[in-house]
């Protein structure tokens, strides 16, 4: 099982009917597997983790992690719809899921992007991405 806060995001995505209705549970950590990698899908990955330290007792135990959540689709409006729904599900909505305790989660940036496969014989279609970066403070 993924560890917190990835577990939190994984469960939130899987428990939202509107997201699942579009992605059919294609929510992947870090990379998209070759088998079952059809569109649309969501990929989430940890970008960095930091924390606050004290002089006497070390880290305070509430690390700050930035997690990128990307919604991919072959249709730009569908990628946008999924991205909007992910934002409504995650942004400013901390909580406890499984053994993950999230005390603060906030959207800090959002970017639209696309990938156009290059070269003859390219197998993938033109794909659109809504890329969101969340700042997550969680109980370690």
């Amino acid at each position: 099982m993924p560890s917190a806060p990835e577990m939190f995001i994984y469960h939130r995505l899987n428990s939202d009917p509107q997201i699942v209705g579009k992605t059919d549970y294609r929510h992947y950590a870090i990379f998209v597997p070759k088998i079952g990698g059809e569109f649309p899908f969501v990929v989430y990955a940890r970008k960095n983790t930091g924390g606050d330290d004290t002089l006497n007792s070390g880290p305070v135990g509430l690390p700050m992690t930035h997690i990128q959540v990307s919604a991919w689709a072959v249709d730009s409006s569908e990628a946008r719809d999924i991205g909007d729904r992910i934002r409504e599900t995650l942004d400013g909505k901390p909580g406890d899921v499984a053994d993950a305790r999230i005390v603060d989660i906030r959207l800090v940036s959002e970017t639209d992007d696309f990938v156009e496969p290059q070269g003859a014989g390219a197998q993938l279609p033109l794909a659109y991405e809504v890329r969101q970066l969340y700042q997550v403070r969680w109980q370690q």
Partner: protein
């Protein structure tokens, strides 16, 4: 030789605080004892030995400390310092995405 700040413990009134910064400031008034016997372009003469002021400032994680509260202050670790202290100023701040942080100033006697 340089010494790491890590491992410093700050205790006030029997409570150990999660400090992130500690500053100790001591000062003492000096009397200008320069007289006519000092040669031109020479330096002034100062006399010390009077009562000194001691102040400790901290930044920490946690709730506000009540100003006017007195207690035993002890700093151990890479710096050793102690005395009876009274909180002269204190404040606490809470910001979006951040932890609750406080800072306080102690007058030490």
């Amino acid at each position: 030789m340089a010494v790491s700040s890590q491992g410093l413990t700050f205790t006030f009134g029997g409570t150990t605080l999660s400090v992130t910064n500690v500053s100790i400031n001591e000062s003492q008034d000096l009397v200008d004892a320069t007289d006519l016997g000092v040669a031109p372009n020479d330096r002034r003469i100062y006399v010390g030995g009077f009562a000194s002021d001691a102040e400790v400032q901290i930044e920490y994680f946690g709730d506000i400390l009540t100003s006017g509260t007195s207690g035993a202050l002890a700093i151990t670790g890479p710096i050793s310092y102690s005395g009876n202290a009274t909180i002269s100023t204190s404040s606490v701040s809470a910001s979006v995405g951040d932890l609750v942080r406080g800072n306080a100033t102690f007058r030490v006697s």
